[in-house]
């Protein structure tokens, strides 16, 4: 049995506390009125911060001269100012949402990996099943928090999802056309179904997994195999729809067919990385004696392979849109390349070039600290990936990586660590009666 080390527990509480404070600062310092918002932007101009804004200002002046009609300009300015206010108000919300989704997505990615291992009857991984079950436990609190954020968005506490604003939809033919799918009630019902299905599979599979240890036949194992196969079908459909709902609908005018797989690759690789890191941590503390370097090697191969799969999807999406350059699609990347150049390309380097070069060598994949270091870079890279998906649609060019963002990571990171390691104490770390456990113990590459 694993005992939660006190230092880790206290560390996770401190992270949660600090994170909450940072998030609170973010919410308090968000502007409440248009005047405040303008003052904030002006102040940041003085810092020499928004180099890009000078152009914007010039553009406005030019517009005034050309139009001449002051009434129109006032209206335009007012709507522009309100837009700015909404962006600045969105910032703490978006920081909260990115972090909440990122850690939830890790747990969901691990759940998918776990189901794959069970459905494929993999012989090497049963030793790691309890670690995976520990990580997927976070799906319950993490999923509920994401759901609450979505409910608050529907209740107009923020302006993250434009299509939730009835007035905007009234003036937008495109959004009216999508209202059959993108309407608040159906949106929440769908989210509840996705989360309900995932949480049900997680809890039921865990129950069967624990029952298998106590039973004297393999009926629980067989049941778990069937449920895992069924879950994978459910998961592939719901994960795709979830990515349209929770991420793509932030840019409701834009659409991409492979977006669901792209988000899937991101969560899958983050999940596998976290499995490897937690397994290495537990092993270093002497809790997973039978896990050897070959298991870590296999996980590192998955990290390497899925990183490249992620890049393949990222590039396939980018290149098709860049090549055809159809205005209604390309705005998505124009916004990212203009205002998010640094996070956009940093993410690419961290998620592709870094693991490509570091995890290519077979020997390096067996060096534990090497896998952990690469894992940290990969996780930061995939945080940036979610950041790049959410931020341009919610805060636009007003993004900044500051207190609310760090607070989000700290809070959800702390909660994740606390919840996962707390679950790990609930059951023995090595399954007893899994039919493949002996093969897994002997696994050697």
């Amino acid at each position: 049995m694993y005992t939660f080390s006190n230092r880790l527990k206290i560390g996770s509480f401190i992270a949660m506390g600090l994170g909450l404070i940072c998030l609170a600062i973010g919410f308090v310092s968000a502007p409440a009125t248009v005047e405040e918002a303008k003052a904030m932007v002006a102040a940041s101009h003085d810092d020499g911060h928004g180099g890009g804004h000078a152009e914007e200002a010039g553009h406005e002046e030019g517009g005034q001269e050309a139009h001449g009609a002051t009434a129109h300009d006032e209206g335009h300015d007012a709507s522009h100012d309100e837009h700015l206010l909404h962006q600045l108000q969105n910032r703490p919300w978006a920081a909260l949402y990115v972090a909440a989704f990122f850690f939830f997505m890790i747990a969901l990615g691990v759940l998918a990996f776990y189901a794959v291992q069970r459905a494929a009857q993999a012989g090497w991984s049963p030793l790691l099943f309890r670690v995976m079950e520990g990580i997927t436990a976070y799906i319950v609190p993490g999923g509920i928090i994401v759901f609450v954020i979505l409910v608050l968005s529907v209740m107009h506490m923020n302006h993250m999802f434009v299509w939730m604003d009835a007035e905007t939809v009234a003036h937008d033919k495109l959004l009216q056309g999508k209202a059959g799918y993108l309407n608040p009630t159906f949106f929440l019902v769908r989210a509840a179904i996705f989360l309900g299905g995932w949480i049900f599979y997680r809890e039921y599979s865990r129950k069967l997994s624990l029952a298998q240890d106590q039973s004297d036949d393999n009926s629980n194992f067989v049941k778990n195999f069937r449920w895992s196969a069924a879950f994978l079908v459910f998961y592939l459909i719901t994960e795709s729809m979830m990515s349209w709902d929770w991420i793509m609908s932030l840019d409701p005018h834009w659409f991409s067919t492979l977006f669901g797989w792209y988000v899937f690759a991101s969560m899958f690789v983050s999940g596998i990385t976290v499995i490897a890191m937690i397994a290495i941590y537990l092993k270093s503390k002497g809790y997973l004696e039978d896990v050897n370097d070959s298991h870590i090697h296999d996980l590192a191969k998955f990290m390497f392979g899925i990183s490249i799969f992620w890049t393949y999807l990222w590039f396939a999406q980018f290149m098709l849109i860049w090549y055809a350059n159809i205005p209604e699609e390309v705005t998505y990347f124009v916004a990212r390349l203009q205002d998010y150049k640094l996070p956009f390309f940093t993410m690419f380097a961290m998620n592709f070039i870094f693991p490509l070069l570091l995890l290519m060598n077979s020997d390096y994949k067996r060096v534990n600290w090497f896998v952990v270091m690469t894992g940290i870079v990969l996780l930061l890279g995939h945080y940036l990936d979610v950041f790049n998906m959410v931020m341009p649609a919610t805060v636009g060019d007003q993004w900044y990586f500051g207190i609310p963002e760090i607070g989000g990571i700290l809070f959800f990171g702390g909660l994740f660590v606390y919840w996962v390691f707390n679950t790990l104490t609930k059951a023995p770390l090595q399954p007893k009666r899994n039919p493949f456990i002996e093969e897994s113990r002997q696994f050697h590459y």
């Binding site: 590039f315 980018f318 290149m319 860049w322 090549y323 350059n325 290519m360 077979s362």
Partner: protein, 175 residues
């Protein structure tokens, strides 16, 4: 290489593995082992060095990537930068996404083909090459271990019979 060799035949890969370990423990140099299929762990038991073919493959891949970049840069950017459907041919970076499929394929092409050719050269395999097969049965169901003889034929034979050999021959090595 000794001109006279002793050849021990086995009919089980497990027995062969133990025999290899025993012979190595007795400090005899195993010149060659012939098997009908890859025996997992045999290279380790024989103490063979790791292959470096993956490293050559990586270098060939880098070469392929360089060839693709230099070629596309020369053709599309330097030599005749035409406007083809509005694609920006001003610099390589600006039009790079369009070249990535070629860069990728060339990397894989060079890495794969040059590695295979390296493998053929290093293992001396080519069409019309005379098969180096001491006993036809080693292509079907027998395993053969070959050890050089240096005036110790009797001692070697005794050792090999002990390891479970089914047949032992002493022959003059050709070439």
């Amino acid at each position: 290489m000794a001109s006279k060799v002793i050849q021990a035949l086995y009919n089980d890969d497990d027995v062969l593995m133990h025999a290899v370990k025993k012979v190595r423990a007795a400090h005899h140099h195993i010149e060659e082992v012939y098997t009908p299929f890859p025996v997992h762990g045999l290279d380790k038991a024989m103490g063979l060095e790791h292959t470096r073919i993956a490293i050559t493959s990586f270098m060939y891949g880098c070469l392929g990537l360089t060839v693709a970049i230099v070629m596309m840069n020369y053709i599309m950017i330097d030599d005749w930068p035409q406007d083809i459907g509005g694609k920006p041919s001003f610099s390589y970076m600006e039009n790079m996404p369009a070249f990535v499929p070629i860069m990728f394929e060339m990397t894989v092409f060079f890495a794969a083909h040059l590695m295979v050719i390296t493998f053929y050269l290093r293992s001396r395999m080519w069409p019309f090459k005379k098969a180096e097969n001491p006993d036809k049965r080693t292509t079907d169901d027998h395993f053969l271990m070959e050890i050089g003889v240096h005036d110790n034929e009797k001692e070697l034979a005794d050792l090999l019979w002990e390891t479970g050999a089914v047949e032992i021959n002493v022959t003059e090595k050709e070439s």
